[in-house]
Symmetry: C2
Subunit: 559 residues, 2 copies
Amino acid sequence: MSAYALGLDFGTNSVRALIVDAANGNEIATSVYNYRMGQAGVIIDAKDPNVARQHPREYVDGMTKAVKDALADAAKTSGFAPDKVIGIGVDTTGSTPIPVDESGQALALLPEYENEPALMAWLWKDHTSHAEAAEITKLAAKMRPQFLAKCGGIYSSEWFWAKILHCARTSPDLFEKIHSFVEHTDWMPAVLCGMKSAADIPRGVCAAGHKAMYNPSWGGYPDEKFLSKLDPRLARIRQTLPESCQSIAQAAGQLCPEWAERLGLPAGIAVGIGAFDAHLGGVGCGIGAGTLVKIMGTSTCDILVAPMDRDLPDVPGICGIVPESVLPEHYGLEAGQSAVGDIFNWYVHSIKPDHMDHASLTAGAENLKPGASGLLALDWNNGNRTILVDQRLTGLLMGTTLHTTPAEIFRALVEATAYGARAIIERFEEYGVKVERIVCCGGISAKNKMVMQIYADVANVPMEISSSAQTCALGSAICGAVAAGKANGGYDNYADAMAAMTSTLPERFEPIPENVAVYERLYQLYKRLHDLFGTKDYAANQYDVMKELLEIRDSARNA
Amino acid sequence: MSAYALGLDFGTNSVRALIVDAANGNEIATSVYNYRMGQAGVIIDAKDPNVARQHPREYVDGMTKAVKDALADAAKTSGFAPDKVIGIGVDTTGSTPIPVDESGQALALLPEYENEPALMAWLWKDHTSHAEAAEITKLAAKMRPQFLAKCGGIYSSEWFWAKILHCARTSPDLFEKIHSFVEHTDWMPAVLCGMKSAADIPRGVCAAGHKAMYNPSWGGYPDEKFLSKLDPRLARIRQTLPESCQSIAQAAGQLCPEWAERLGLPAGIAVGIGAFDAHLGGVGCGIGAGTLVKIMGTSTCDILVAPMDRDLPDVPGICGIVPESVLPEHYGLEAGQSAVGDIFNWYVHSIKPDHMDHASLTAGAENLKPGASGLLALDWNNGNRTILVDQRLTGLLMGTTLHTTPAEIFRALVEATAYGARAIIERFEEYGVKVERIVCCGGISAKNKMVMQIYADVANVPMEISSSAQTCALGSAICGAVAAGKANGGYDNYADAMAAMTSTLPERFEPIPENVAVYERLYQLYKRLHDLFGTKDYAANQYDVMKELLEIRDSARNA
């Protein structure tokens, strides 16, 4: 009997529902709901670009609509019926903590608090808590260096505790109403399972480990002594968190009758534990030891796993090393580039060279030989997430002449992101995490062959492309199929599920030896500039040049 | 009785005739003849971008036409008559040597040679002789280091002996027909004076000193022993050159009857010694000790003078230090930036950001506060003439983000050229040549107030603008008036002539203290990058980065 899995993918701007055939991963129906902007949905603040909040109502309403539409679409597929859906998986952005009351209810869903941004979901890209993040980094460096070692050395303003601390400091009265904070990725399964107490909500290791300094090696979440030193109110929140978190292999629970009815799905089917989009994107690409999955869009997220049967050293500059956050019995490792497609978009839409679009710039750029422009760029227009973990870095373009063309610059920007990608690979390999295979997914990998060829040539590794155009949602569906188990038409483990349900396109991008040779030389120059301006690694570094420029900029703007 | 002077200004693309009132410098008539392109005029070679030759016929015919048109125009001015013209001055580009026969005739004017590029004028920007220039530099460094000390340390492919050596090597048969080479700036006065022997042609110190390693301190032109070591044929050319050259204060001779008739001017009037356009541009701006004259166009030429009553050290990186090349009793010093307007033009016409023009980019850029973009650029898109004397350098832009705008980049490019200008000023001052006043002329100074304000703020010196829009031609006319002498209605010295005939605009650009403070910080960063990539001045320099990039580029293009 055929069985289907539902993947729910909550992105920054929309929620997607995907229904796949559990036997082979065929995507039979999909639907996307775009969040409303403004008070009702996504809140941004023109006066403070650091603010980014989402209203949880959009998550609930958007999910309902997307699932119903997908089911309606799926009904056209012969053999499909809603009662053949065996499991649900969930991925979201993160760290996106939601303030909840004791019952686990999002406070923003209560009428009295529905217009309080402090009580909405603190979207991953909310950067209001940069000062608190620095404070946490500073204290951890002194008191609990092991906390930092697992998250690349620096605690980010995008993460759980920084946001909570900022909330406590800036909205102290509202903070008193908050019982706990639940990551978006944990809250959605709890809603679907009809959990009636915050204490019952299972928390996944993915969010906890990568963003909340959770690690079994030191007993779970950070200890109260450490948190109290930052603010006693953090210790109170700590008391609402479980002692241990769930691995990706575990189910969060079963779909409750109320939500079964709202969605038109069978009550009691499995709901997988939630995880971040990029991590389940890794699953959707068929990740395994030695396989680097690159989710390439406006920014890039890199996901790797390493078997837990041997020790893994801390890898400096890597966003996180978390047991079982991507696959059971594997460490999950996350890295990323702060801007990739965003750099190309900036060049096309802000600089508007000769009013050329992506296609015409690509057409011009792909006619160029590697190295022939004499240009070299640093891909730091939005800072550097991995391996430098430094937002206060900026882009650089070197080698311009009076003959430099827009297409040459475009190619140099693409190459710069490829060098940045290689620096991440080298960092992993330097610490013993082998990259034997690379699978790419996301908009850029599907749309721009030139970019993929350059990445293959720069990394000297073939680039494979995921067959799915919605890989994160596919990963969620796989998570649902594993949660359901083989007995119910799903799978008992990820390896079997991924083998059956994922694939890559037949066309892969092979490194071209003569290009590899040129890019080898260029990469060495990139790495020189990278270390020169981005590190304090040697005596005559120029680390302070970009910092000083930004300081001059900031004082000029505030003058 | 009123008296007039004629200034002839031979540029890269045209010759201009300017008639001025000798009493006050009022410009009463002007006319421009644009050289024809192709075999008949300016020869460039699509296959070899280094080739740039001009046919001497264009000089002769163009001058005739321009003078006649200017005289016709001047006839409208009440009180003017051609017989009131008392002297002629000449400026040209250089080094632009012309092969001549024993009579001083340009060989290209003889029917049998009229289509031989090797026998035409070797335009200043002809770079075919780069290998020969390197050879001369190398030999001089070993054998006659003093030759290099006076020309900034490196002999250029644009200069006299390099071109002659290349001609001998690549066109040996035609070379045998050449009696001597005469700089364009010396040849024009010789034509006007009707000289019938190459030996009679006076050579000005301007061309000889700045481009042909002429200096009285070592007995004039380079010695035959040195030249023979390069090629015995150079020694033969050396024998055709005079033992000493003429200062700018001396006349070349008198207008011969034949040319008086052709031009419609009185025979016997004074013809000044020829000099380079930028040098007479200095005169047209009223140069004197402590005054830096900047001729700002596609590139920039900087002219300074220093009194000869005290010793002047050799200034590294300066294009030349030549006694009396600009003013009598003063050393003439020349510096320059390889690209200024050319960088702005490249950005507007090649990158075409949002199809904005100079005016709209300037409008956007002038609304920005100094430093507020966070950008910093190096102005090396066409290499660096002064102070690094290095064509193998390239442009750089640092500090880009995802919000960087075209106007911000435009302003950063303007600022970069201002920093380059300041580096030149600092180099002069470091070696005891004070810059107390700056007078600008040329297209940019007349057209773009924002550029001028930025230059004032970066240099922390007021920028004055020449009243004349054709300052080189005005300088030539002054040269003609001085050659004529006071007795004939002219002047006995340059100081009196400049005081009467030159002026600056009432509006000058004063440094704005808060801008000066920001640019002081930015300039220090510019200087860091400048030294980092452009010099070998410290242990951890990155001098080889741009070189390696260019090497990769050149091999990619030749592959």
